[in-house]
C-alpha cells in the first residue's frame, strides 16, 4: 500500500518541478479532451502553445497579444499572491478590477476633452484608489467584525458588475454614442489613451507597471521586514502575534495592495486594449489571476512566467477556436485543470511516497 510521509522540510526540487509536471499533465488530458471534441489533439496543443509565438503566419499579430494579456494577469496575481502568502483570501479581484476601471475612467472623463498631460497620471491614481477602496470593504469588515473575506470579496464582484452595468448605460455613457451603452472611447482621446509604447510588442503602461510590481514584490517578500511579517502571518499566525505583528495591519495591507493592483490593471485595460467602459469589458482576469498566482507558486518570478503561460493559453485558445473550431469554453476548462493538476502534484513538495507492507491508518 502507498503511504504519504511528511518531509522534514519542503523540497525545493519539487517546488520548482511541480508546475512543469502540471503543465505536461494538462496537455495530455487536454489533448484527450480535444480528441473527444473531434479535433486532432497534437495539432490542437501545437496551435495553443506553439503557434501564437512561432507560427510565421499569425505570430506577428499574436505575439504582441502575449504581453497585452499577461500584463493584467501578472499585475493582479502579484497582489493576490501577497495576500495568499498571509492566508488572506481575496478572491474578489474581478470586482476590484472593475471598480478601478470605473473610478479611473470616471476621473478622466470628468475632464473631457482636456488634453492636459496630468490627466493620465490622475486616472492611474484614481484607478488604484478605486480598486483599493473596493478591497477595503472586506478588509474592514474582517478586522472589525471577523467577517469572512472570501465570501464578502466575492459577493462584491456581483455588486461591481451591477454598478458597471449601471454606469455604462448611465453616468459614464458616451453622450455622443447615440444612446448605446458604453463610455467614450479612450483610444480616440490621446491624453488618456494607454497606447502601445513600443510598436509591435504589445508593451503598454500596464505591462510596465506589472514588471515594476514583480520587482517590488520580490524585494518586499524576500528582504523587507513587512514581507517577512506577511509570510510569518501565513505560516504561523500565533508566532506572528508573538513576534509583535499586528494582524489587523496585515489584513489591511494585503487586501489594500491586491485591491490597488487589481484596480490599476482595470484602468490600464479600459484605457488601452478594451478602449472604453462597457457592460462586458471585463473578461475574468480577476479569476484567472488566482490560477496564475498558484501556478507561479506565489513567488513573483514564478508569477511572471505563469502569467505569460496563461496569456499564451488565452491567445492559443482563440486561435484554436478560429482554426480548429474548438469551443472557447474548453480553454477555461484547460486553465482550471492546470490549477487542479498543480494542487494534486503539490503533495510531493511536502510529502514523500512510501510503499509499505501493511499500515493501519
Amino acid at each position: 500500500m502507498i503511504r504519504l510521509e511528511k518531509r522534514p522540510e519542503p523540497s525545493r526540487f519539487w517546488t520548482a518541478v511541480t508546475p512543469l509536471i502540471a503543465v505536461a499533465l494538462t496537455m495530455v488530458v487536454g489533448g484527450m479532451l480535444f480528441a473527444w471534441q473531434g479535433a486532432d489533439p497534437v495539432e490542437a496543443i501545437r496551435t495553443i502553445f506553439w503557434d501564437p509565438i512561432f507560427n510565421p503566419q499569425f505570430a506577428a499579430f499574436t505575439r504582441p497579444q502575449l504581453l497585452v494579456k499577461a500584463g493584467p494577469l501578472i499585475l493582479i496575481a502579484i497582489g493576490l499572491s501577497i495576500g495568499f502568502r498571509a492566508g488572506i483570501w481575496n478572491i474578489g479581484a474581478e470586482g476590484q478590477y472593475i471598480m478601478g476601471a470605473i473610478c479611473g475612467a470616471g476621473a478622466g472623463l470628468a475632464f473631457y476633452p482636456s488634453e492636459s498631460v496630468l490627466i493620465f497620471p490622475l486616472m492611474i491614481v484614481a484607478g488604484a484608489l478605486g480598486g483599493w477602496a473596493w478591497a477595503m470593504i472586506p478588509a474592514v469588515l474582517k478586522t472589525r467584525f471577523g467577517t469572512n473575506e472570501i465570501l464578502v470579496s466575492l459577493m462584491l464582484v456581483y455588486v461591481a458588475e451591477n454598478i458597471l452595468a449601471s454606469v455604462s448605460s448611465g453616468l459614464l455613457r458616451n453622450p455622443e454614442g447615440m444612446g448605446f451603452p458604453g463610455s467614450r472611447n479612450f483610444k480616440q482621446w490621446d491624453a488618456t489613451h494607454n497606447a502601445e509604447l513600443i510598436s509591435g510588442t504589445g508593451m503598454h503602461w500596464g505591462v510596465v507597471f506589472a514588471f515594476i510590481a514583480v520587482i517590488a514584490a520580490y524585494v518586499l517578500m524576500a528582504r523587507h521586514i513587512q514581507g517577512f511579517h506577511i509570510r510569518l502571518t501565513g505560516e504561523a499566525p500565533r508566532a506572528a502575534r508573538f513576534a509583535g505583528v499586528n494582524p489587523t495591519r496585515i489584513v489591511i495591507l494585503c487586501l489594500g495592495i491586491s485591491g490597488a493592483l487589481a484596480g490599476l490593471a482595470g484602468l490600464f485595460e479600459v484605457t488601452g486594449p478594451a478602449g472604453q467602459i462597457s457592460i462586458d469589458f471585463n473578461s475574468g482576469y480577476g479569476f484567472t489571476a488566482i490560477i496564475v498566482a498558484f501556478l507561479g507558486r506565489l513567488h513573483p518570478v514564478g508569477i511572471l512566467l505563469a502569467g505569460l503561460l496563461m496569456a499564451l493559453t488565452y491567445i492559443g485558445g482563440e486561435l484554436a477556436q478560429l482554426m480548429l473550431g474548438v469551443p472557447g469554453a474548453s480553454i477555461q476548462l484547460f486553465q482550471g485543470m492546470l490549477l487542479f493538476f498543480l494542487l494534486a502534484t503539490d503533495v510531493f513538495t511536502n510529502y514523500r511516497l512510501r510503499f509499505a507492507a501493511r499500515e493501519v491508518s
Binding site: I225, F228, G244, R354, V360
Partner: protein, 507 residues
C-alpha cells in the same frame, strides 16, 4: 501472582530514520499495575499504539490469554478487552459527556440508558460526572474522568493509561490512585505509562523500562531507588543543574492586580494576579494545565495588552505596550508551544531568529533585513546552546523537540534580557536537553536577570526556583520561598486554597 494476560514478544516498529521499538518483549499479568517507563522519544507511545491497534508492528507478536492478538483497529483491540485512556487527542469539546463516551464504545446502549450508566459507574469509582455537560467546559481532571469512564463501561481486562497524572493536582492524583487500586483488586490489569519515578514506586507492581526503543529491564519498582530507575531510563548520568550563589537585586518586573477577561469560551480569565521578581531571582509558577498559564504568558509577552498600571518593568509602566516595545524595554518571553507559537514550523532557523531578535540584535536596518547578520545570529544560538541541526537554513519543524526548544530559549537568552518569562521550558524535551536549558536559566539569573518560569513540572520548579506561586483558575497564590514548602502545601496552593494569607509579597 496470577496468570499472564498480555504477552508481548519481539515487537519491532521502524519509522524512517528511527527505530521506535526494537525487539521489545515483556508480560503483563492479570490484576497488576505495570509501569511503562521511559523518556520522551523512548518508544512508549508507539508501543501502546501497537497494543491498541492504531499502528501495526513490523515484526513480533502479541498474545492475550495465550491466543494470538493482532488488532487491526482500536475497535478490534477493544473487543479483546483492551481499553486506553489517552493523554491528548481523544475528546471532543463541542460534544457532551455522554456523546464522548458513546464514541469510544463499539456497541453503546441507548442514550437514556447510557447516561444512567455513566452516573452509576462514575459514582461507584469516586469520579462523579454529569453526562450532559459539554466536554469543552470541563477541567482537565474532569476530562480525564470522561476518558476513564469511557473505558470502564466496557469492562476492560487491560486498561492503558498514558501519562495520566500530568493534568492533575496532587489531591486529584490520590483519588485516581484509589480508583486504580480498586480496579486492580477487581482483576483489571493496568499498563501505566509515566516518567514520574515516585508515582511508579508507590503505585506499580512491575515496571518495564524503555530506552531508545529497546527494553532495558523489567523490575519491581518498589525495590529500586528513584536514582537507579532514572539511570536505567536515561542510560547515562547527566549533570544536575547547579545554582551559583546569587544576590538578589532590585525588583525588575512587578505585576499589580492584573485582571484580563478570557479571550474565548475555552480559555481562562486572569483574576487579580500580583507578583514581583527581582534581579537574580527565579520565580516558579506552578499549576495544573489550563489554569491560566497561556493567558499569563500572553499578558506578559505583550500579545495581549493589559490594563494600564498593571505591568511595570524597572518601575516603568509597560502594560499598554505590545510585544515589540516590551522586547525593546528588556522583557523577553518564550511560550509553551514551540511549533506555531515560539517558532514558525516551515521557516528556517535564520528566519526564526529574526522572529524575536530583529531589533535587539540590529538585524534590520531601515526596514530591510540583513540576512547575513541574521544567519550569524542563528549560528551563535546554535553554537552556544548545542542545537543539533545540519545548519541554520533548516526548517524549524525538522528539528527534534529538544533541539528546537534549546534554539528558542537560547534565542531569547542571547539577547541579554533583563526579565525573561518562560512557559514550560522543558516540556517534551529529553533529559539532557532539559538539564541544559535549566542550567542556562540559572546562569542567566546569576548574571542579574529576573526570571519567571511557568511550568507543570513541580520537580523542575523545586529545582530551579527561589520562590514558588501557583495558578488556579486564573488566580495566583502568594509566592513563597521554595525552602519553606512541602508537597502538601504545594498541593493546597495548586488546589486554590490560598489560606496562608501572609503579606502580599516579599520585596
Amino acid at each position: 501472582m496470577a496468570d499472564t494476560l498480555l504477552s508481548i514478544t519481539g515487537l519491532t516498529k521502524a519509522y524512517p530514520g528511527v527505530v521506535a521499538n526494537d525487539d521489545v518483549s515483556f508480560d503483563i499479568r492479570t490484576g497488576e499495575i505495570h509501569a511503562l517507563l521511559g523518556e520522551n522519544g523512548a518508544g512508549k507511545s508507539t508501543l501502546v499504539k501497537m497494543i491498541y491497534g492504531l499502528v501495526a508492528p513490523d515484526r513480533g507478536s502479541m498474545r492475550i490469554d495465550g491466543a494470538a492478538f493482532a488488532p487491526g483497529s482500536p475497535s478490534e483491540a477493544r473487543q479483546s478487552g483492551v481499553a486506553m485512556v489517552f493523554q491528548h487527542f481523544s475528546l471532543f469539546d463541542a460534544l457532551d459527556v455522554a456523546e464522548n463516551v458513546s464514541l469510544g464504545m463499539d456497541d453503546p446502549p441507548k442514550p437514556g440508558a447510557l447516561a444512567a450508566r455513566i452516573r452509576d459507574v462514575s459514582e461507584a469509582y469516586g469520579l462523579p460526572l454529569d453526562p450532559h455537560r459539554l466536554v469543552g467546559t470541563l477541567s482537565a481532571g474532569e476530562r480525564q474522568r470522561v476518558e476513564i469512564i469511557r473505558c470502564l463501561l466496557q469492562d476492560p481486562r487491560l486498561l492503558i493509561m498514558d501519562e495520566p497524572t500530568s493534568v492533575l493536582t496532587p489531591q486529584e492524583v490520590e483519588i485516581l490512585f484509589e480508583t486504580l487500586r480498586k480496579l486492580k483488586t477487581e482483576g483489571t490489569a493496568i499498563l501505566y505509562i509515566s516518567h514520574k519515578l515516585e508515582e511508579i514506586r508507590t503505585l506499580c507492581d512491575h515496571a518495564t523500562i524503555l530506552r531508545r526503543g529497546k527494553k532495558v529491564a523489567t523490575c519491581t519498582p518498589a525495590e529500586e531507588t528513584a536514582r537507579k530507575l532514572a539511570e536505567m531510563m536515561v542510560g547515562s548520568s547527566f549533570a544536575t543543574p547547579v545554582a551559583q550563589s546569587r544576590t538578589r537585586g532590585d525588583v525588575l518586573l512587578e505585576i499589580r492586580s492584573l485582571s484580563l477577561p478570557a479571550p474565548d469560551a475555552f480559555s481562562t480569565p486572569l483574576r487579580d494576579v500580583s507578583f514581583a521578581v527581582a534581579a537574580g531571582e527565579v520565580l516558579g509558577i506552578g499549576g495544573v494545565a489550563g489554569n491560566g498559564q497561556d493567558e499569563l504568558l500572553a499578558a506578559l509577552s505583550g500579545e495581549r495588552i493589559a490594563p494600564a498600571g498593571t505591568v511595570a518593568l524597572k518601575g516603568k509602566d509597560i502594560a499598554r505596550l505590545g510585544p515589540v516595545a516590551r522586547r525593546d524595554a528588556g522583557l523577553l518571553s518564550g511560550p509553551e508551544e514551540r511549533l506555531g507559537h515560539a517558532a514558525a514550523p516551515n521557516m528556517s532557523l535564520i528566519e526564526n531568529g529574526v522572529l524575536t531578535a530583529a531589533r535587539r540584535e540590529n538585524l534590520v536596518s531601515r526596514g530591510f533585513i540583513g540576512w547575513g547578520d541574521a544567519r550569524r545570529f542563528a549560528e551563535r544560538v546554535i553554537d552556544a546552546f548545542d542545537v543539533r541541526t545540519p545548519g541554520p537554513g533548516v526548517a524549524a519543524r525538522a528539528l527534534s523537540g529538544g533541539n528546537l526548544q534549546k534554539f528558542v530559549v537560547g534565542r531569547e537568552i542571547l539577547q541579554r534580557p533583563d526579565v525573561l518569562v518562560l512557559n514550560q521550558p522543558t516540556w517534551g524535551v529529553d533529559a539532557a536537553a532539559a538539564a541544559a536549558i535549566r542550567q542556562a536559566i540559572l546562569d542567566l539569573a546569576a548574571k542579574g536577570a529576573a526570571i519567571v518560569v511557568i511550568s507543570q513540572d513541580l520537580d523542575e520548579l523545586m529545582e530551579i526556583s527561589d520562590r514558588f506561586a501557583a495558578l488556579n483558575e486564573g488566580r495566583l497564590s502568594a509566592a513563597r520561598p521554595v525552602a519553606e514548602l512541602d508537597m502538601e502545601k504545594i498541593g493546597l496552593m495548586m488546589g486554590g486554597a490560598h489560606d496562608m494569607e501572609v503579606a502580599h509579597d516579599v520585596h
